[in-house]
Protein backbone atom coordinates (compact mmCIF):
# COMPACT_ATOMS: atom_id res chain seq x y z
CA UNK A 1 0.00 0.00 0.00
CA UNK A 2 2.75 2.41 1.03
CA UNK A 3 4.86 1.60 -2.01
CA UNK A 4 1.85 2.13 -4.22
CA UNK A 5 1.20 5.56 -2.74
CA UNK A 6 4.85 6.58 -3.18
CA UNK A 7 4.70 5.43 -6.78
CA UNK A 8 1.58 7.50 -7.36
CA UNK A 9 3.24 10.54 -5.84
CA UNK A 10 6.34 10.14 -8.03
CA UNK A 11 4.18 9.78 -11.13
CA UNK A 12 2.20 12.88 -10.22
CA UNK A 13 5.40 14.90 -9.71
CA UNK A 14 6.84 13.67 -13.01
CA UNK A 15 3.76 14.71 -14.92
CA UNK A 16 4.00 18.17 -13.38
CA UNK A 17 7.72 18.56 -14.09
CA UNK A 18 7.64 17.38 -17.69
CA UNK A 19 4.44 19.07 -18.83
CA UNK A 20 6.00 20.76 -21.83
CA UNK A 21 4.80 24.12 -23.14
CA UNK A 22 2.72 23.73 -26.27
CA UNK A 23 2.15 26.23 -29.04
CA UNK A 24 -1.33 27.66 -28.78
CA UNK A 25 -4.07 26.73 -31.23
CA UNK A 26 -4.86 29.28 -33.92
CA UNK A 27 -6.43 27.42 -36.84
CA UNK A 28 -8.57 24.30 -37.10
CA UNK A 29 -5.91 22.78 -39.38
CA UNK A 30 -3.77 22.27 -36.28
CA UNK A 31 -6.37 19.91 -34.86
CA UNK A 32 -5.33 17.20 -37.34
CA UNK A 33 -2.59 16.01 -35.01
CA UNK A 34 -4.20 16.78 -31.66
CA UNK A 35 -6.19 14.69 -29.19
CA UNK A 36 -9.89 15.37 -29.86
CA UNK A 37 -13.15 14.40 -28.21
CA UNK A 38 -16.72 14.08 -29.46
CA UNK A 39 -20.02 12.66 -28.37
CA UNK A 40 -20.41 9.06 -29.53
CA UNK A 41 -22.41 8.61 -32.71
CA UNK A 42 -22.70 12.33 -33.47
CA UNK A 43 -21.57 14.12 -36.60
CA UNK A 44 -18.92 15.72 -34.41
CA UNK A 45 -17.35 12.27 -34.16
CA UNK A 46 -17.39 11.79 -37.95
CA UNK A 47 -15.84 15.21 -38.53
CA UNK A 48 -13.13 14.52 -35.97
CA UNK A 49 -12.46 11.16 -37.63
CA UNK A 50 -12.08 12.85 -41.01
CA UNK A 51 -9.75 15.46 -39.51
CA UNK A 52 -7.51 12.91 -37.84
CA UNK A 53 -7.45 10.38 -40.68
CA UNK A 54 -5.31 7.38 -39.78
CA UNK A 55 -4.63 8.75 -36.31
CA UNK A 56 -8.24 8.62 -35.20
CA UNK A 57 -7.63 5.36 -33.36
CA UNK A 58 -5.13 6.95 -31.01
CA UNK A 59 -6.20 10.60 -30.92
CA UNK A 60 -10.00 10.50 -30.82
CA UNK A 61 -11.95 9.81 -27.64
CA UNK A 62 -15.72 9.50 -27.84
CA UNK A 63 -17.95 10.07 -24.84
CA UNK A 64 -21.54 9.14 -24.10
CA UNK A 65 -22.39 12.69 -22.99
CA UNK A 66 -21.22 16.17 -23.93
CA UNK A 67 -20.60 17.00 -20.28
CA UNK A 68 -17.99 14.24 -20.14
CA UNK A 69 -16.25 15.47 -23.29
CA UNK A 70 -16.09 19.04 -21.98
CA UNK A 71 -14.81 17.83 -18.61
CA UNK A 72 -11.95 15.99 -20.27
CA UNK A 73 -11.18 19.12 -22.29
CA UNK A 74 -10.99 21.22 -19.14
CA UNK A 75 -8.76 18.62 -17.51
CA UNK A 76 -6.38 18.76 -20.47
CA UNK A 77 -7.02 15.19 -21.60
CA UNK A 78 -8.01 16.45 -25.04
CA UNK A 79 -7.29 19.74 -26.81
CA UNK A 80 -10.62 20.24 -28.52
CA UNK A 81 -14.19 18.94 -28.55
CA UNK A 82 -15.99 18.81 -31.89
CA UNK A 83 -19.69 19.57 -31.45
CA UNK A 84 -22.68 21.57 -32.64
CA UNK A 85 -22.44 25.32 -32.22
CA UNK A 86 -25.65 25.82 -30.24
CA UNK A 87 -24.88 23.50 -27.32
CA UNK A 88 -21.26 24.71 -27.52
CA UNK A 89 -22.43 28.28 -26.94
CA UNK A 90 -24.36 27.16 -23.90
CA UNK A 91 -21.23 25.54 -22.46
CA UNK A 92 -19.35 28.81 -23.00
CA UNK A 93 -22.03 30.71 -21.14
CA UNK A 94 -22.11 28.32 -18.18
CA UNK A 95 -18.56 26.99 -17.89
CA UNK A 96 -15.51 29.18 -17.39
CA UNK A 97 -12.35 29.07 -19.49
CA UNK A 98 -13.74 27.79 -22.80
CA UNK A 99 -13.61 29.26 -26.29
CA UNK A 100 -15.04 28.37 -29.70
CA UNK A 101 -12.63 28.49 -32.62
CA UNK A 102 -13.78 31.11 -35.14
CA UNK A 103 -13.45 28.83 -38.11
CA UNK A 104 -16.38 26.41 -38.30
CA UNK A 105 -15.54 22.82 -39.24
CA UNK A 106 -18.64 22.29 -41.33
CA UNK A 107 -22.29 23.22 -41.69
CA UNK A 108 -25.02 20.64 -41.29
CA UNK A 109 -28.75 20.28 -41.69
CA UNK A 110 -30.99 18.75 -39.05
CA UNK A 111 -33.93 16.51 -39.85
CA UNK A 112 -36.14 13.93 -38.16
CA UNK A 113 -35.11 10.30 -38.70
CA UNK A 114 -37.43 7.38 -39.52
CA UNK A 115 -37.20 3.66 -40.02
CA UNK A 116 -36.15 2.91 -43.60
CA UNK A 117 -39.26 2.56 -45.72
CA UNK A 118 -41.71 4.22 -43.32
CA UNK A 119 -42.77 6.55 -46.15
CA UNK A 120 -46.28 7.06 -44.83
CA UNK A 121 -45.16 8.68 -41.59
CA UNK A 122 -42.42 10.65 -43.38
CA UNK A 123 -45.08 12.16 -45.64
CA UNK A 124 -47.37 13.03 -42.74
CA UNK A 125 -44.54 14.64 -40.77
CA UNK A 126 -43.31 16.54 -43.82
CA UNK A 127 -46.81 17.92 -44.31
CA UNK A 128 -46.95 19.01 -40.67
CA UNK A 129 -43.48 20.58 -40.92
CA UNK A 130 -44.44 22.48 -44.07
CA UNK A 131 -47.52 23.87 -42.32
CA UNK A 132 -45.44 24.90 -39.32
CA UNK A 133 -42.90 26.63 -41.52
CA UNK A 134 -45.66 28.43 -43.44
CA UNK A 135 -47.65 29.73 -40.47
CA UNK A 136 -44.60 30.75 -38.42
CA UNK A 137 -45.05 28.14 -35.65
CA UNK A 138 -41.54 26.80 -36.20
CA UNK A 139 -39.98 30.27 -36.18
CA UNK A 140 -41.80 31.07 -32.95
CA UNK A 141 -40.40 27.94 -31.29
CA UNK A 142 -36.87 28.79 -32.39
CA UNK A 143 -37.26 32.39 -31.22
CA UNK A 144 -38.46 31.21 -27.83
CA UNK A 145 -35.29 29.17 -27.26
CA UNK A 146 -32.69 31.25 -29.03
CA UNK A 147 -33.48 34.48 -27.20
CA UNK A 148 -33.90 34.52 -23.49
CA UNK A 149 -33.35 31.98 -20.75
CA UNK A 150 -34.86 28.76 -22.01
CA UNK A 151 -33.94 26.89 -18.84
CA UNK A 152 -36.81 28.84 -17.33
CA UNK A 153 -39.26 27.21 -19.77
CA UNK A 154 -41.66 25.05 -17.78
CA UNK A 155 -42.40 21.61 -19.23
CA UNK A 156 -46.02 21.97 -18.09
CA UNK A 157 -46.48 24.64 -20.74
CA UNK A 158 -45.84 22.13 -23.52
CA UNK A 159 -48.94 20.30 -24.73
CA UNK A 160 -48.07 16.62 -25.17
CA UNK A 161 -51.66 16.01 -26.29
CA UNK A 162 -52.23 13.44 -23.53
CA UNK A 163 -55.01 10.94 -24.11
CA UNK A 164 -55.25 11.65 -27.83
CA UNK A 165 -57.57 9.32 -29.72
CA UNK A 166 -55.11 8.62 -32.54
CA UNK A 167 -52.73 6.67 -30.28
CA UNK A 168 -49.17 7.57 -29.39
CA UNK A 169 -46.27 9.01 -31.31
CA UNK A 170 -43.06 7.61 -29.83
CA UNK A 171 -40.11 9.93 -30.35
CA UNK A 172 -36.56 8.97 -29.42
CA UNK A 173 -34.17 11.68 -28.30
CA UNK A 174 -31.10 12.31 -26.15
CA UNK A 175 -32.01 14.94 -23.58
CA UNK A 176 -28.56 16.46 -23.16
CA UNK A 177 -28.53 18.70 -26.22
CA UNK A 178 -29.66 22.17 -25.23
CA UNK A 179 -31.53 24.08 -26.51
CA UNK A 180 -32.97 21.26 -28.62
CA UNK A 181 -33.81 18.83 -25.83
CA UNK A 182 -33.39 18.85 -22.09
CA UNK A 183 -34.93 16.90 -19.25
CA UNK A 184 -36.44 19.12 -16.58
CA UNK A 185 -37.91 17.39 -13.55
CA UNK A 186 -39.85 14.46 -14.95
CA UNK A 187 -40.55 15.96 -18.37
CA UNK A 188 -38.84 17.57 -21.32
CA UNK A 189 -38.34 20.96 -22.93
CA UNK A 190 -36.47 22.13 -26.03
CA UNK A 191 -36.93 23.09 -29.68
CA UNK A 192 -37.21 19.48 -30.86
CA UNK A 193 -39.64 18.61 -28.07
CA UNK A 194 -41.95 21.53 -28.80
CA UNK A 195 -41.74 20.87 -32.52
CA UNK A 196 -42.62 17.19 -32.06
CA UNK A 197 -45.46 18.18 -29.73
CA UNK A 198 -47.01 20.27 -32.50
CA UNK A 199 -46.42 17.50 -35.05
CA UNK A 200 -48.05 14.95 -32.74
CA UNK A 201 -51.03 17.23 -32.31
CA UNK A 202 -51.38 17.64 -36.06
CA UNK A 203 -51.32 13.84 -36.41
CA UNK A 204 -53.91 13.54 -33.65
CA UNK A 205 -51.52 11.59 -31.44
CA UNK A 206 -50.04 11.83 -27.95
CA UNK A 207 -46.33 12.64 -27.85
CA UNK A 208 -44.25 10.15 -25.87
CA UNK A 209 -40.57 11.03 -25.45
CA UNK A 210 -38.08 8.17 -25.05
CA UNK A 211 -34.84 9.51 -23.63
CA UNK A 212 -31.90 7.38 -24.81
CA UNK A 213 -28.20 7.61 -25.46
CA UNK A 214 -27.52 9.26 -28.80
CA UNK A 215 -25.75 6.25 -30.27
CA UNK A 216 -28.77 4.05 -29.42
CA UNK A 217 -31.21 6.20 -31.42
CA UNK A 218 -30.63 4.68 -34.89
CA UNK A 219 -31.06 1.21 -33.38
CA UNK A 220 -34.27 2.29 -31.62
CA UNK A 221 -35.88 3.64 -34.77
CA UNK A 222 -34.81 0.78 -37.02
CA UNK A 223 -36.16 -1.83 -34.58
CA UNK A 224 -39.42 0.12 -34.36
CA UNK A 225 -38.93 0.90 -30.66
CA UNK A 226 -39.83 4.48 -31.54
CA UNK A 227 -41.68 5.96 -34.52
CA UNK A 228 -39.11 8.64 -35.20
CA UNK A 229 -35.97 10.14 -33.73
CA UNK A 230 -35.57 13.86 -33.25
CA UNK A 231 -32.39 14.96 -31.52
CA UNK A 232 -30.73 17.58 -33.69
CA UNK A 233 -29.78 14.76 -36.05
CA UNK A 234 -27.60 15.75 -38.97
CA UNK A 235 -28.52 14.39 -42.38
CA UNK A 236 -25.56 12.47 -43.82
CA UNK A 237 -25.31 10.16 -46.81
CA UNK A 238 -24.20 7.32 -44.57
CA UNK A 239 -27.19 7.72 -42.30
CA UNK A 240 -29.50 7.95 -45.33
CA UNK A 241 -28.52 4.38 -46.16
CA UNK A 242 -29.97 3.15 -42.89
CA UNK A 243 -32.87 5.48 -42.26
CA UNK A 244 -35.21 7.90 -43.95
CA UNK A 245 -35.28 11.60 -43.15
CA UNK A 246 -37.92 14.30 -43.11
CA UNK A 247 -37.36 17.66 -44.73
CA UNK A 248 -34.68 19.69 -42.94
CA UNK A 249 -35.91 21.85 -40.10
CA UNK A 250 -32.52 23.43 -39.38
CA UNK A 251 -30.24 24.49 -42.23
CA UNK A 252 -26.59 25.41 -41.79
CA UNK A 253 -26.03 24.39 -38.18
CA UNK A 254 -22.33 24.88 -37.60
CA UNK A 255 -20.00 22.23 -36.26
CA UNK A 256 -17.31 23.90 -34.20
CA UNK A 257 -14.25 23.08 -32.14
CA UNK A 258 -14.49 23.98 -28.46
CA UNK A 259 -11.08 24.61 -26.88
CA UNK A 260 -9.67 26.03 -23.66
CA UNK A 261 -9.60 29.84 -23.76
CA UNK A 262 -5.98 29.96 -22.55
CA UNK A 263 -4.99 27.51 -25.28
CA UNK A 264 -6.44 29.58 -28.13
CA UNK A 265 -4.98 32.55 -29.95
CA UNK A 266 -7.10 34.13 -32.66
Amino acid sequence: MKKFLVLLLVLALCSCAFGAEQAKLTTTAQLKTERLAAQRGTVGQYIAEDLLGDNKGTLLTTYEKYVDAIASLRQGKVRAVVMDEMPAKRFLAEVEGLAIMDEALSEENYAIGFRKGNTELVAEVNKALAEMKADGTLDAIFAKYLTGDYTAVKPETIDFNKGAKGGKLFVGTEAGFAPYELKVGSSYIGIDVEMCAVIAKKLGKELVIENMNFDALPMAVSTNKVDMICAGITVTDERKENMDFSENYVVGAKQVAVVRADDYEK
Partner: protein, 269 residues
Protein backbone atom coordinates in the same frame (compact mmCIF):
# COMPACT_ATOMS: atom_id res chain seq x y z
CA UNK B 1 -17.45 -16.33 3.62
CA UNK B 2 -19.23 -17.66 6.65
CA UNK B 3 -16.16 -18.00 8.81
CA UNK B 4 -15.70 -14.29 9.15
CA UNK B 5 -13.20 -13.23 11.76
CA UNK B 6 -15.39 -11.06 13.89
CA UNK B 7 -12.55 -9.20 15.57
CA UNK B 8 -10.92 -7.93 12.39
CA UNK B 9 -14.11 -7.93 10.33
CA UNK B 10 -15.68 -4.96 12.10
CA UNK B 11 -12.39 -3.07 12.40
CA UNK B 12 -11.41 -3.40 8.76
CA UNK B 13 -14.54 -1.62 7.58
CA UNK B 14 -13.82 1.33 9.83
CA UNK B 15 -10.21 1.57 8.64
CA UNK B 16 -11.35 1.54 5.02
CA UNK B 17 -13.89 4.23 5.81
CA UNK B 18 -11.23 6.29 7.57
CA UNK B 19 -8.83 6.05 4.63
CA UNK B 20 -11.66 6.99 2.29
CA UNK B 21 -12.50 10.04 4.41
CA UNK B 22 -8.83 11.07 4.48
CA UNK B 23 -8.61 10.81 0.70
CA UNK B 24 -11.75 12.88 0.36
CA UNK B 25 -10.43 15.54 2.71
CA UNK B 26 -7.11 15.61 0.90
CA UNK B 27 -8.82 15.91 -2.48
CA UNK B 28 -10.95 18.76 -1.17
CA UNK B 29 -7.94 20.46 0.40
CA UNK B 30 -5.77 20.18 -2.69
CA UNK B 31 -8.52 21.61 -4.88
CA UNK B 32 -8.61 24.70 -2.71
CA UNK B 33 -11.95 23.83 -1.22
CA UNK B 34 -11.31 25.33 2.21
CA UNK B 35 -11.23 28.93 1.09
CA UNK B 36 -14.20 31.25 1.48
CA UNK B 37 -14.53 31.86 -2.28
CA UNK B 38 -14.43 28.17 -3.13
CA UNK B 39 -16.99 27.45 -0.44
CA UNK B 40 -19.31 30.08 -1.86
CA UNK B 41 -18.83 28.67 -5.33
CA UNK B 42 -19.58 25.19 -4.02
CA UNK B 43 -22.77 26.44 -2.42
CA UNK B 44 -23.85 28.22 -5.57
CA UNK B 45 -23.29 25.10 -7.65
CA UNK B 46 -24.97 22.95 -5.04
CA UNK B 47 -28.01 25.21 -5.24
CA UNK B 48 -27.98 24.99 -9.06
CA UNK B 49 -27.61 21.24 -9.12
CA UNK B 50 -29.98 20.11 -6.43
CA UNK B 51 -32.10 22.87 -4.93
CA UNK B 52 -33.21 25.09 -7.81
CA UNK B 53 -36.54 24.00 -9.33
CA UNK B 54 -36.53 21.04 -6.89
CA UNK B 55 -33.91 19.27 -9.00
CA UNK B 56 -33.22 16.86 -6.16
CA UNK B 57 -36.55 15.31 -7.08
CA UNK B 58 -34.91 14.00 -10.24
CA UNK B 59 -32.53 12.05 -8.01
CA UNK B 60 -35.40 10.89 -5.80
CA UNK B 61 -37.33 9.66 -8.84
CA UNK B 62 -34.16 8.02 -10.13
CA UNK B 63 -33.61 6.30 -6.81
CA UNK B 64 -37.21 5.05 -6.88
CA UNK B 65 -36.62 3.55 -10.33
CA UNK B 66 -33.35 1.96 -9.18
CA UNK B 67 -34.95 0.39 -6.11
CA UNK B 68 -38.03 -0.69 -8.07
CA UNK B 69 -35.90 -2.40 -10.70
CA UNK B 70 -33.59 -4.03 -8.16
CA UNK B 71 -36.45 -5.35 -6.04
CA UNK B 72 -38.40 -6.66 -9.02
CA UNK B 73 -35.32 -8.27 -10.51
CA UNK B 74 -34.47 -9.92 -7.19
CA UNK B 75 -37.95 -11.48 -6.98
CA UNK B 76 -37.66 -12.89 -10.51
CA UNK B 77 -34.10 -13.97 -9.76
CA UNK B 78 -35.21 -15.83 -6.63
CA UNK B 79 -37.95 -17.69 -8.51
CA UNK B 80 -35.69 -18.60 -11.44
CA UNK B 81 -32.78 -19.44 -9.18
CA UNK B 82 -34.92 -21.71 -7.00
CA UNK B 83 -36.24 -23.68 -9.98
CA UNK B 84 -32.78 -24.01 -11.54
CA UNK B 85 -31.08 -25.09 -8.34
CA UNK B 86 -33.81 -27.63 -7.52
CA UNK B 87 -33.28 -29.17 -10.97
CA UNK B 88 -29.53 -29.31 -10.56
CA UNK B 89 -29.51 -30.59 -7.00
CA UNK B 90 -32.23 -33.15 -7.70
CA UNK B 91 -30.32 -34.39 -10.72
CA UNK B 92 -27.22 -34.85 -8.64
CA UNK B 93 -29.28 -36.47 -5.90
CA UNK B 94 -30.35 -39.26 -8.20
CA UNK B 95 -33.49 -37.97 -9.97
CA UNK B 96 -33.28 -38.94 -13.63
CA UNK B 97 -33.76 -35.61 -15.41
CA UNK B 98 -30.80 -35.25 -17.81
CA UNK B 99 -32.63 -32.98 -20.29
CA UNK B 100 -33.87 -30.54 -17.66
CA UNK B 101 -30.45 -30.54 -16.04
CA UNK B 102 -28.73 -29.81 -19.35
CA UNK B 103 -31.16 -26.96 -19.99
CA UNK B 104 -30.51 -25.49 -16.55
CA UNK B 105 -26.77 -25.77 -17.06
CA UNK B 106 -26.95 -24.08 -20.45
CA UNK B 107 -29.08 -21.29 -19.02
CA UNK B 108 -26.61 -20.65 -16.22
CA UNK B 109 -23.61 -20.81 -18.56
CA UNK B 110 -25.08 -18.39 -21.09
CA UNK B 111 -26.47 -15.85 -18.65
CA UNK B 112 -23.41 -15.83 -16.45
CA UNK B 113 -21.09 -15.82 -19.45
CA UNK B 114 -22.38 -12.61 -21.04
CA UNK B 115 -22.42 -9.10 -19.57
CA UNK B 116 -25.72 -7.99 -18.03
CA UNK B 117 -25.63 -4.82 -20.10
CA UNK B 118 -25.42 -6.73 -23.38
CA UNK B 119 -28.35 -8.87 -22.24
CA UNK B 120 -30.30 -5.75 -21.36
CA UNK B 121 -29.74 -4.27 -24.84
CA UNK B 122 -30.75 -7.55 -26.49
CA UNK B 123 -33.92 -7.80 -24.41
CA UNK B 124 -34.92 -4.23 -25.18
CA UNK B 125 -33.91 -3.81 -28.81
CA UNK B 126 -34.23 -7.33 -30.17
CA UNK B 127 -36.62 -9.48 -28.18
CA UNK B 128 -39.03 -6.76 -27.06
CA UNK B 129 -38.47 -4.58 -30.11
CA UNK B 130 -42.16 -4.25 -30.86
CA UNK B 131 -43.37 -3.89 -27.26
CA UNK B 132 -43.65 -0.14 -27.14
CA UNK B 133 -46.47 0.45 -24.70
CA UNK B 134 -44.71 -1.75 -22.15
CA UNK B 135 -42.94 0.28 -19.48
CA UNK B 136 -39.23 -0.08 -20.21
CA UNK B 137 -38.61 -0.66 -16.52
CA UNK B 138 -40.42 -4.00 -16.76
CA UNK B 139 -38.09 -5.06 -19.55
CA UNK B 140 -35.14 -4.09 -17.35
CA UNK B 141 -36.59 -6.04 -14.42
CA UNK B 142 -36.95 -9.10 -16.65
CA UNK B 143 -33.43 -8.75 -18.05
CA UNK B 144 -31.76 -8.17 -14.70
CA UNK B 145 -33.98 -10.77 -12.98
CA UNK B 146 -33.21 -13.55 -15.44
CA UNK B 147 -29.52 -12.65 -15.26
CA UNK B 148 -29.59 -12.62 -11.50
CA UNK B 149 -31.46 -15.95 -11.49
CA UNK B 150 -28.40 -17.67 -12.92
CA UNK B 151 -26.25 -16.33 -10.09
CA UNK B 152 -28.84 -17.05 -7.42
CA UNK B 153 -29.14 -20.64 -8.71
CA UNK B 154 -25.45 -21.09 -8.06
CA UNK B 155 -25.81 -19.52 -4.61
CA UNK B 156 -28.58 -22.00 -3.72
CA UNK B 157 -26.65 -24.94 -5.11
CA UNK B 158 -23.45 -23.89 -3.39
CA UNK B 159 -25.31 -23.49 -0.10
CA UNK B 160 -26.89 -26.93 -0.33
CA UNK B 161 -23.66 -28.59 -1.41
CA UNK B 162 -21.77 -26.94 1.44
CA UNK B 163 -23.64 -29.21 3.84
CA UNK B 164 -21.71 -32.36 4.60
CA UNK B 165 -23.20 -35.24 2.53
CA UNK B 166 -22.94 -37.31 5.69
CA UNK B 167 -25.93 -35.42 7.05
CA UNK B 168 -28.10 -36.55 4.17
CA UNK B 169 -26.80 -40.10 4.44
CA UNK B 170 -27.49 -40.17 8.16
CA UNK B 171 -31.03 -38.86 7.66
CA UNK B 172 -31.71 -41.38 4.88
CA UNK B 173 -30.35 -44.25 6.98
CA UNK B 174 -32.81 -43.29 9.71
CA UNK B 175 -35.57 -43.94 7.20
CA UNK B 176 -36.43 -40.38 6.15
CA UNK B 177 -37.27 -39.87 2.47
CA UNK B 178 -35.02 -37.75 0.21
CA UNK B 179 -37.50 -34.89 0.25
CA UNK B 180 -38.01 -34.93 4.01
CA UNK B 181 -34.28 -35.09 4.73
CA UNK B 182 -33.76 -32.20 2.37
CA UNK B 183 -36.52 -30.17 4.01
CA UNK B 184 -35.74 -30.93 7.65
CA UNK B 185 -32.00 -31.54 7.73
CA UNK B 186 -30.15 -30.01 4.78
CA UNK B 187 -32.12 -26.88 3.81
CA UNK B 188 -32.33 -25.29 7.28
CA UNK B 189 -28.55 -25.50 7.56
CA UNK B 190 -27.99 -24.40 3.99
CA UNK B 191 -30.19 -21.33 4.45
CA UNK B 192 -27.80 -20.05 7.08
CA UNK B 193 -25.15 -19.74 4.37
CA UNK B 194 -27.52 -18.77 1.59
CA UNK B 195 -29.36 -15.80 3.11
CA UNK B 196 -26.36 -13.48 3.54
CA UNK B 197 -25.19 -14.30 0.02
CA UNK B 198 -28.63 -13.44 -1.35
CA UNK B 199 -28.34 -10.00 0.20
CA UNK B 200 -24.91 -9.65 -1.37
CA UNK B 201 -26.48 -10.51 -4.72
CA UNK B 202 -29.09 -7.81 -4.06
CA UNK B 203 -26.30 -5.29 -3.42
CA UNK B 204 -24.50 -6.32 -6.60
CA UNK B 205 -27.73 -6.01 -8.55
CA UNK B 206 -28.42 -2.55 -7.15
CA UNK B 207 -25.17 -1.34 -8.64
CA UNK B 208 -25.65 -3.30 -11.84
CA UNK B 209 -28.90 -1.47 -12.65
CA UNK B 210 -26.84 1.68 -13.22
CA UNK B 211 -26.57 0.71 -16.90
CA UNK B 212 -30.36 0.95 -17.35
CA UNK B 213 -29.91 4.42 -18.83
CA UNK B 214 -28.84 2.70 -22.02
CA UNK B 215 -32.40 1.65 -22.74
CA UNK B 216 -33.83 4.99 -21.72
CA UNK B 217 -34.65 4.44 -18.06
CA UNK B 218 -33.97 7.39 -15.79
CA UNK B 219 -32.48 5.47 -12.90
CA UNK B 220 -30.31 7.07 -10.23
CA UNK B 221 -27.20 7.21 -12.41
CA UNK B 222 -29.11 8.58 -15.37
CA UNK B 223 -30.83 11.14 -13.13
CA UNK B 224 -27.37 12.46 -12.22
CA UNK B 225 -26.53 12.67 -15.92
CA UNK B 226 -29.77 14.51 -16.61
CA UNK B 227 -28.84 17.09 -13.97
CA UNK B 228 -25.40 17.34 -15.57
CA UNK B 229 -27.04 18.14 -18.89
CA UNK B 230 -29.19 20.80 -17.20
CA UNK B 231 -26.47 22.59 -15.28
CA UNK B 232 -23.48 21.51 -17.39
CA UNK B 233 -21.67 20.73 -14.20
CA UNK B 234 -19.64 17.60 -14.15
CA UNK B 235 -18.58 16.62 -10.67
CA UNK B 236 -21.28 17.43 -8.13
CA UNK B 237 -24.17 15.41 -9.61
CA UNK B 238 -21.95 12.35 -10.10
CA UNK B 239 -20.44 12.54 -6.62
CA UNK B 240 -23.91 12.92 -5.15
CA UNK B 241 -25.10 9.84 -7.05
CA UNK B 242 -22.05 7.93 -5.81
CA UNK B 243 -22.74 8.97 -2.22
CA UNK B 244 -26.36 7.82 -2.45
CA UNK B 245 -25.31 4.41 -3.79
CA UNK B 246 -22.61 4.14 -1.15
CA UNK B 247 -24.92 4.98 1.74
CA UNK B 248 -27.48 2.40 0.62
CA UNK B 249 -24.85 -0.28 0.06
CA UNK B 250 -23.17 0.44 3.41
CA UNK B 251 -26.49 0.19 5.27
CA UNK B 252 -27.26 -3.09 3.51
CA UNK B 253 -23.77 -4.44 4.17
CA UNK B 254 -24.04 -3.64 7.84
CA UNK B 255 -27.43 -5.31 7.92
CA UNK B 256 -26.05 -8.43 6.23
CA UNK B 257 -23.22 -8.58 8.75
CA UNK B 258 -25.65 -8.38 11.66
CA UNK B 259 -27.86 -10.98 10.00
CA UNK B 260 -24.90 -13.29 9.58
CA UNK B 261 -23.97 -12.96 13.22
CA UNK B 262 -27.54 -13.65 14.21
CA UNK B 263 -27.79 -16.71 11.96
CA UNK B 264 -24.57 -18.10 13.37
CA UNK B 265 -25.36 -17.33 16.98
CA UNK B 266 -24.55 -20.12 19.39
CA UNK B 267 -22.46 -21.83 16.76
CA UNK B 268 -18.90 -22.69 17.48
CA UNK B 269 -16.56 -21.07 14.98
Amino acid sequence: MTMRNKQTGAGRGDIVLGIFALFLLYALYSSGFFTAAAWQDFNRRFYQNFVKDSRYMMLVDGLKATIFMTSGATLIGLAVGLVLSVIRVAHKGGAHIPVLNAMAETYITVLRGTPAMVQLLIWNFTIFASARDLNTQYIAILAFGLNSGAYIAEIFRGGIESIDPGQMEAARSLGLSYGTSMKLIVLPQALRNIIPMLFNEFIALLKETSVAGYIGIDDLTRAGQNIQALTLEHSQPLVMVAIIYLVIVMCLTRFVRKLEEWLHRGRRG
